[in-house]
Every structure is written in structure tokens, then in C-alpha cells.
């Protein structure tokens, strides 16, 4: 066996026990002995290198936020073990967590409707999912203590509820809710609501003419998401002032 042939054997077999012909060559070739010894040292050293490294915690936090936004993680916004007032207080965590449009609008509609109805005792309560009602066994009003799961079909891209109609109804309710309260914050929120409504109207008009314009649709979706978050901010602001 020649040195080149030994190299082919090493390439195919690695550092496993070598065949007799290879061992015979090694016995008489110091260069190949050195080569094999060096490879063995490298492999031995590589085995001592750590095969794990600790990633920063923010990676999981960021990853989880993305997964929730995309609806891959599907669970109700949690408030661990808290006894909550019947006003339908939303978890502080929900404010920080970004949400897909469907999740934001559907959840917000249900919560705001419950808040609105809790202040209108002569109205009939709106239907709320059984899981939410179970969270408040002692409550006299059918208000959710946690923001409910989004109502989505098994196809994750289909939303059962109509987000635009729900958002408009929520907006109307909030307008009444805010009438008695005037502050710089609310003024700013109302102005921004008007701004985003105008933009939404502009996008919708454009899409009627160009229904396949993906860019316009993306802007429209972003605007809806901003509107949902704005309405949530208005609700928070109104609650803190009332």
C-alpha cells in the first residue's frame, strides 16, 4: 500500500480500526504515522469542545412573540390565578404582545362588548364562549376575565368573524364610552383614530379598483391591526380615567 492509498482508506473508514494492509504501511512510514497521529489529536480535541452554548433569553421571548403573532401558538392570553374585577380587565401582558389582526380584532370585540354591556344592565348579554364563562363561576355578569381565544377555523388563514364589521361596532361603542372624558391623551387618540380610518378608507377604495394589489392589501391589514391596538389603547385610557 502507498501513502495515497492509505489516505483513501482514511477517507472512507475514518479513524476506525484500519485493515491489515494499512497497518503494515503505517509501520514503515513515519510521515503517515505523523499524519494519523495529528488527525487523532484533532478529533480528540474536538470531542472536548462544548457541543452546547447558552443562547440569550431574549431569543425565546422574541421567538414566542413571533409565533403568537403568526398564530402558530394558539392559546388564550393568560392571567395566572388572579381574581379580576368584573369590568373585563385585560392582562397587562396582552398590551405588550403583538397580535395578528384576527386575534386582535376578535378578542377585542368580545372584551369591549362585555365591558359595554356590563355598563348597560338593560341589554341582553352577548354570547360568550363557555370556557370564558367558566373562568368566572361566581360572577353575576357574563363578562370575561381573560381575553378569549380567537375564533378561527381549522384552516388558520380563515377567520370566522368579520373583523372589519366588528371593529366598526367596537369603535362606535368606544366613541360613546369616551364622550364624557376629554383629555390630551384622548384627543390624541381620537385624532389618530380619524387618521387611520381615513387611511383604511383610502386603501379600500384603491383595492376596489385593483383587488389583486398585494402591497395595498398589506397596508390595509397593517392599518387594521393598528386600529385594533388603538382601540385597545382607548379602552385602557378610558378605564384608567374612569
Amino acid at each position: 500500500m502507498q501513502c495515497k492509498e492509505l489516505e483513501i482508506v482514511l477517507e472512507q473508514e475514518g479513524l476506525a480500526p484500519l485493515p491489515a494492509s494499512a497497518r503494515e504501511h503505517l509501520a514503515g512510514c513515519t510521515a503517515c504515522q505523523g499524519f494519523l497521529a495529528d488527525l487523532s489529536s484533532i478529533v480528540a480535541a474536538a470531542k472536548t469542545l462544548p457541543d452546547e452554548a447558552h443562547p440569550p433569553e431574549r431569543i425565546w421571548i422574541s421567538l414566542r412573540a413571533r409565533l403568537e403573532t403568526e398564530g402558530v401558538i394558539r392559546e388564550a392570553a393568560e392571567v395566572a390565578g388572579a381574581t379580576l374585577p368584573s369590568m373585563g380587565w385585560r392582562s397587562l401582558a396582552a398590551w405588550f404582545r403583538p397580535r395578528a389582526l384576527a386575534t386582535a380584532s376578535a378578542g377585542l370585540v368580545l372584551v369591549v362588548t362585555a365591558v359595554f354591556l356590563s355598563r348597560q344592565p338593560d341589554l341582553q348579554p352577548s354570547p360568550i364562549s363557555p370556557s370564558i364563562a367558566q373562568n368566572n363561576p361566581g360572577s353575576t355578569v357574563s363578562a370575561p376575565s381573560v381575553a378569549p381565544s380567537p375564533v378561527v377555523s381549522s384552516d388558520s388563514h380563515t377567520v370566522v368573524s368579520d373583523p372589519t364589521g366588528d371593529l366598526n361596532r367596537t369603535e362606535g361603542d368606544l366613541a360613546n364610552f369616551h364622550l364624557a372624558v376629554t383629555s390630551p391623551v384622548n384627543t390624541s387618540l381620537r385624532q389618530d383614530l380619524q387618521t387611520v380610518n381615513e387611511f383604511i378608507a383610502e386603501c379600500e377604495l384603491h383595492l376596489k379598483q385593483y383587488p389583486h394589489d398585494d402591497v395595498a392589501r398589506e397596508y390595509l391589514n397593517s392599518a387594521y391591526q393598528q386600529k385594533a391596538e388603538l382601540l385597545a389603547a382607548m379602552m385602557d385610557s378610558g378605564r384608567s380615567e374612569n
Binding site: 502507498q2 501513502c3 495515497k4 489516505e7 482514511l10 477517507e11 472512507q12 475514518g14 510521515a31 505523523g34 499524519f35 497521529a37 495529528d38 488527525l39 489529536s41 484533532i42 478529533v43 480528540a44 480535541a45 474536538a46 470531542k47 472536548t48 469542545l49 462544548p50 457541543d51 452546547e52 452554548a53 447558552h54 443562547p55 440569550p56 433569553e57 431569543i59 425565546w60 421571548i61 422574541s62 421567538l63 414566542r64 413571533r66 409565533l67 403568537e68 403568526e70 402558530v72 401558538i73 394558539r74 392559546e75 393568560e78 392571567v79 395566572a80 390565578g81 388572579a82 381574581t83 379580576l84 374585577p85 380587565w89 392582562s91 397587562l92 401582558a93 405588550f96
Partner: protein
């Protein structure tokens, strides 16, 4: 200036307000880590994750994240890029987890995505040396490190310095680096590496051998460079003494 008061459990402010609800919300806002260890198997966690369970996603992330991060870190050499790649790999994995049927080991599937993400990123950077295609499908005649067969070699003198080895691994072309890290550092077998990298077992063995040979050359260069620096330092010291 108010004197410092006990830092836990006290409240500043005009009114004594019960903070139970806020404390519960705070607990929820705490860095996301399961408060109690879950006794799941990987199979159980995958099933739950396919149903959208956040805790299951976190379980899988904690189970595999450190190895994935270590792989990314070795491949790109800097934490910022490694974090990006790790997040991207897990994002892709979790988005597609519904399609996982158990034909291969979950970790193999994850590592395959990780390697794809890393190699795509490196491909985009268009490294000037050693094209990716060449390192994955070598031409037997012209590729790979050359060894002067029969010529005297600079021995690595037994133990290989871990710092030098890490540095040399960083200098390997992407294809060699991936196979070397997966096999010699992380302990994957050739059939698993072939599945991860989408190549044949023979190709994996060939790449590994070439990676080890190249590392030997790089380490020899390190030794020569260190010897040169020592000689220079000794020379300048003796010059200064004169």
C-alpha cells in the same frame, strides 16, 4: 428625600391598595420560563406543539436550543448572527411542525433546517473562497486540501490547543465546517449528517476527512506563526539587551 424602605412588599403612595391583581399580572410578565418542570417526552411535546401549546414549544426549544445555538455560533463566528440564525431556524421549524410525521428523528429535522438556514445565509454573503457547491460535491482531482505525500510534516506534538482549534474551525469553508462540527463536536453519525445535509454518506465521510486534513494544515500554520513570533520577540529582546 425619602429614606430607603424595605424593597419588597411595601407600597409608596397615598393609599393602601391591594396589589394582588397586579402581582399576578407581574408574575405573568416575568421572563417566560415554565414555572414548573414538565415531565413530557419529546413525542408528547411535539404532539402538543402541533396543537399550538406554548409550553410545548418552549419545552422543545429548551431541549434543543443549546445545541442549535452552538452549531450556529461555530458556523458564523459571531453571536449576533448566530442568534438571528437560531431564531430563524426555530421559526421555520415551528411553522412546519404540523407536517412532522416522525419519519426522521426530530433533532435531525431541526438540524437540517438549521444547516439550511445557515448555508443560505452564507451563500448570500458570497464568501470569496471555496464555493459551497464545490465543498458539498467535490471534484476528486482538484478539490480538497493537498497533502504532500511522503514529505516531512510539522507534527502537532500530541495535544491540540482548544483555542487554536476553535480559531481554525472558524477558518474552514462552510461545507467542511458543518460536517466537522456535526460529526466530531456534536457526535452525529454519517447517516444522520447525510440526512441533515442532503448528501450521500460517502460524501459526508469525504467532507469530514478533508475538513480534518485542512484543520491540520491550519493548526500547523498556527504553530509556525507562533514560533515565528517567539523568535521575533527573542530577537528584539536580545537587541534591546545589547
Amino acid at each position: 428625600m425619602c429614606a430607603s424602605t424595605a424593597v419588597t412588599g411595601t407600597t409608596l403612595g397615598g393609599m393602601g391598595r391591594i396589589r394582588r391583581t397586579r402581582s399576578a399580572a407581574i408574575a405573568q410578565l416575568a421572563r417566560s420560563r415554565p414555572t414548573e418542570p414538565v415531565a413530557w417526552t419529546e413525542v408528547e411535546a411535539i404532539r402538543r406543539a402541533q396543537a399550538g401549546d406554548a409550553a410545548a414549544f418552549e419545552f422543545l426549544y429548551q431541549m434543543h436550543g443549546r445545541r442549535v445555538y452552538a452549531l450556529c455560533l461555530r458556523m458564523v463566528g459571531n453571536p449576533a448572527d448566530a442568534e438571528d440564525l437560531m431564531q430563524e431556524a426555530f421559526l421555520q421549524l415551528f411553522r412546519k411542525i404540523g407536517t412532522f410525521r416522525g419519519e426522521s428523528a426530530f433533532s435531525t429535522w431541526l438540524h437540517r433546517m438549521t444547516v439550511n438556514v445557515v448555508l443560505m445565509r452564507l451563500r448570500k454573503k458570497s464568501l470569496p473562497t471555496d464555493s459551497l457547491e464545490e465543498t458539498l460535491e467535490p471534484d476528486a482531482e482538484n478539490s480538497g486540501p493537498k497533502r504532500d505525500v511522503g514529505a516531512p510534516d510539522l507534527r502537532l506534538s500530541g495535544a491540540v490547543d482548544r483555542v487554536n482549534l476553535e480559531r481554525s474551525i472558524g477558518k474552514l469553508p462552510p461545507g467542511y465546517k458543518t460536517v466537522f462540527v456535526l460529526h466530531d463536536v456534536q457526535g452525529y453519525e454519517h447517516n444522520e449528517i447525510a440526512s441533515i445535509m442532503g448528501c450521500s454518506v460517502g460524501n459526508s465521510k469525504s467532507q469530514l476527512h478533508k475538513a480534518r486534513t485542512r484543520l491540520r494544515e491550519l493548526l500547523q500554520e498556527e504553530i509556525r506563526e507562533q514560533a515565528r513570533q517567539e523568535r521575533q520577540a527573542a530577537r528584539s529582546q536580545s537587541d534591546a539587551g545589547d
